[in-house]
Amino acid sequence: MWSLFSIELYKISKRPRTYIAFIAITAIVGIFQFAFKADGTNYMNLMLQSVQDTFDLDKTKAINGYFMCYIILNTLLIQVPILVALIAGDAISGEANMGTLRLLLTKPVTRTQVILVKFAASTVYTIMLLIWMAVTALFLSMYIFGVDDMLIFRVKGEESQILQITKDDIMWRYIAAFGYAAVALSVIAALAMFLSIFAENSIGPIIATVCIVIVCTVISNINLPVIDDNVKPYLFTSYLVGWKGFFYIGTNADGEPIKGSLENWPAIRNSLLILFGHIGVLLTASVVVFNKKDILS
């Protein structure tokens, strides 16, 4: 099993496609950093629109490395599922397409092993992407923009809020958030791999995964009570942004943030459980379907 896993990682590391994602992330992060370095106050002005009349704020301090990473993740974590699908959607179908699937399955390995190992390898790839994002979006931003307290602009229910987290209370939140993102993106990997079982080329499952994610995300973002109550809880995309929960700091009765606290840990925990549930269901389905499947490619 371990050697099968190392082989999968080796194959992923050898394919040019793998590096597209890393290049894409570097490019997106670089563009963000350049834009904010050049004209970050404009963004701050937009976020602070109605507050500017009442308050003075050192905006250059507010645009710091921690804040940058949050802004970048906010955008990037919507695109990264596509990059994960690019690899995971190819897991089975790509091998079917190259004719190597039958070569692989006529070696003494079980199909269950193949599925589990391919999922594990996709997860490792996802984690590598996240580590790369941490390096570029977080550490590089910290280097370029420095560190300071972090402002979170947030819409909660029908209210908007500005949360401030002191700089010594941020790093653990990022570690937790990246961990959460790894779980969330693993759901995408599991979905893409499941779809990949049914196809004989990788385009289909990749596009299907991306479409599912986009459609569900759009529905998740329709702000209507009917959808909030009846649809959203059942869409996995509603939980993809749960990493943000680690930045929703808990506050006391005076509205003062409590260092080291989370506003709603049970909600984050439940989201995590739901995501793990999705992974479990998709993996089980993949194993069952793949074991029953006649390999005709």
Binding site: S3, L4, S6, I7, Y10, K11, K14, R15, P16, N97, M98, G99, T100, R102, L103, L104, L105, T106, K107, P108, V109, T110, K292, D294, I295, L296
Partner: protein, 299 residues
């Protein structure tokens, strides 16, 4: 004799269509077992069932005395190449060998890998990426990959498909060597009788998923059983001479007679002597003749 593979009552139905129909055969140790049939006759499906890639609808498969339910035990001792895999374009030949050695449960060993690549004449290109390989080279690499763990049984599905004549000749040579020098049991499928005829010791012909005939190649392709088709400018005269010489026409439309292949030169000489202006003589084994008629039917 020791049976390596015993197949009985093998049936596969896809979406209500019977692709393999109650097929039974036995492959003995040391056999080069030819599996002959038209495209779509059910060869590939049968071979994939032997390897556990497709689940039989019914019937039993036993290889090395293991039922197909214990696939891993079978696959440990079996090497397979099905049609033409494109392989991993971004890996080198050496990397393929390394990966599949590990997958087969053996520790990759450089000398051994190079030896195996030499056997398929790829040792000089071992570090090149497969995307630079010709179809024939990929196919040879496929063979090397299937042999990486020194299996007792080798299953090859249409290994010469898509190869140029030189590639076909090389492949044939390789299979013969595996059989005679390395004492492997080989199951090979093809839609070309000529190919099977040159390599196989035993063969089975299937048509529409059903067994037509099975036996040793030498028996089935007995030269005494040859059909000769003769064409001449003066066909009436030819027909008369043949009939008066005691030959029986097997086909009224064309002038075709059954005879021993060895006597064909003698007959040509006799006809020429009697003044028949021959335009063509074609001698085929009756089995081949039958096989071609199946193809024609299909077309």
């Amino acid at each position: 004799m020791e049976a390596v593979a015993q197949i009985s009552g093998l049936t596969k139905i896809f979406d209500g269509k019977t692709v393999v129909n109650d097929l039974s055969f036995t492959v003995q140790k040391g056999d080069v077992y030819g599996f002959l049939g038209q495209n779509g006759a059910g060869k590939s499906t049968t071979i994939r069932m032997l390897l556990g890639l497709i689940r039989p609808t019914s019937g039993d498969i036993s290889i090395f005395s293991h039922s197909i339910q214990h696939k891993l035990e079978i696959l440990k001792r079996t090497g397979a190449l099905i049609e033409r895999p494109d392989m991993y374009k971004y890996l080198s030949a050496y990397e393929h060998m390394w990966i599949f050695s590990k997958l087969s449960g053996i520790k990759p060993n450089r000398d051994r890998i190079m030896q195996q690549l030499e056997m398929v004449d790829l040792h000089n290109r071992s570090r090149d990426k497969v995307k630079t390989f010709s179809q024939g080279m990929k196919q040879r690499l496929g063979i090397a990959v299937s042999l990486v763990h020194d299996p007792d049984l080798i299953i090859l599905d249409e290994p010469t498909n898509g190869l140029d004549p030189q590639g076909i000749a090389d492949m044939r040579h390789l299979i013969k060597r595996l059989s005679t020098d390395h004492y492997k049991t080989i199951i090979i499928s093809s839609h070309l009788l000529s190919e099977i005829e040159q390599i196989a010791t035993r063969m089975l012909i299937i048509h529409k998923g059903k067994k037509i005939i099975e036996g040793s190649v030498s028996e089935l392709l007995d030269p005494a059983d040859t059909v000769v088709q003769i064409d001449a400018v003066n066909n009436e005269m030819l027909k008369n001479i043949l009939l008066s010489s005691g030959y029986q026409l097997v086909d009224a439309e064309n002038i075709r007679i059954k005879m021993n292949r060895q006597s064909v030169p003698e007959l040509i000489e006799k006809l020429t002597r009697e003044g028949v202006l021959l335009t063509g003589v074609q001698a085929r084994h009756s089995l081949e003749d039958y096989f071609i008629s199946l193809t024609n039917q299909q077309n």
